[in-house]
Amino acid sequence: MKRTLLEILIISTISIITGFSYIFLKKIEIFPESTEIYLFSKKYPEIKLLNTDEVLKIYKKQNVVIIDARDRISYSQGHIKDAINIPYDEFELYPEFFLNLFKKDNQLIIYCEGGYCEQSFIVAEGLLKKGFKNIYVYIDGYPEWEKKGLPHEKVPF
């Protein structure tokens, strides 16, 4: 038993040292200041999450609909090209009004301002409850999309 404990100690030490070296090298925040994204992930566990690279891979497909869950002013100031606007507060009040905009088998990618906004999760959960299955939240949100110079557009409000 003594030997087993010694082996566990050696393996744990190596794991901890390599783990912390990786944290140091990659500059990972061990105790993050903002944990909203984890709170949303915990609150809405059944919603699938996508990052920018994953959205880029699929967003040009025919079956994909991009939904901007922010308010109308933010949408008019800039949004992902071809995204449709479903403001989360309007969707909460009149969900039926927006359901004709897409089909049940569409892949729906919803976004808002990134990791610190809940609007996209609210719309995503509402759509899940209405029977839509292929629902994703783009976690990096519009600021990251715009920052990377990916296709976006503005419309007059």
């Binding site: 030997r3 087993t4 404990l5 010694l6 082996e7 566990i8 100690l9 050696i10 393996i11 744990s12 190596i14 794991s15 901890i16 390599t18 783990g19 990786y22 944290i23 990659k26 990972i28 925040e29 061990i30 105790f31 993050p32 944990t35 994204i37 984890y38 709170l39 992930s41 915990k42 566990p45 059944e46 699938k48 999450l49 990052n51 976690i139």
Partner: protein
């Protein structure tokens, strides 16, 4: 049966299988740390502040233990750590299933598809834990 369970070749096969599996699983998590941390959050077990630390350290325990199991050194320690990790995974999935939730488990993909939390995943992890304990007991027996 007893003879088979403690057979040298069988134990070596288990070591290679579990070693490769855990190295693969750990590396996948390290390559997608942020996604893995979001999945850890979905389980709703850890406080948010500890999620980054846990989700960064766990894959390193998997890779290092897997490496030792594969290499043939410190087999007792490595197999016991892997059994303990699997026990934690089983407990976490049981907790999530008891709450009626189902989402991609954050473990590792099989044939390009990641399994969802559910009874099948619990069964899979129980089998893996039994196999890992099989290695541990056989090495312990050999030592004594």
């Amino acid at each position: 049966m007893k003879k088979f369970l403690f057979n040298k070749i069988w134990i070596r096969v288990l070591q290679i299988f579990l070693g490769i599996l855990f190295i693969y699983s750990g590396i996948l998590k390290i390559l997608n740390l942020f996604e893995f941390s979001l999945t850890v959050a979905k389980y709703g077990i850890l406080p948010e502040k500890l999620i980054n630390l846990f989700s960064t350290m766990l894959p390193f325990f998997e890779v290092v233990s897997g490496f030792f199991l594969l290499s043939g050194f410190f087999i007792q320690g490595a197999s016991l750590i892997i059994s303990f990790l699997l026990f934690i995974f089983i407990a976490a999935v049981v907790y999530v299933v008891s709450k009626g939730l189902s989402f991609e488990c954050g473990c590792f993909e099989i044939l390009g598809k990641e399994p969802k939390t559910g009874v099948l995943l619990i069964l899979r992890n129980i089998i893996l834990m039994v196999l890992s304990l099989n290695v541990f007991v056989s090495k312990l027996k050999k030592q004594t």
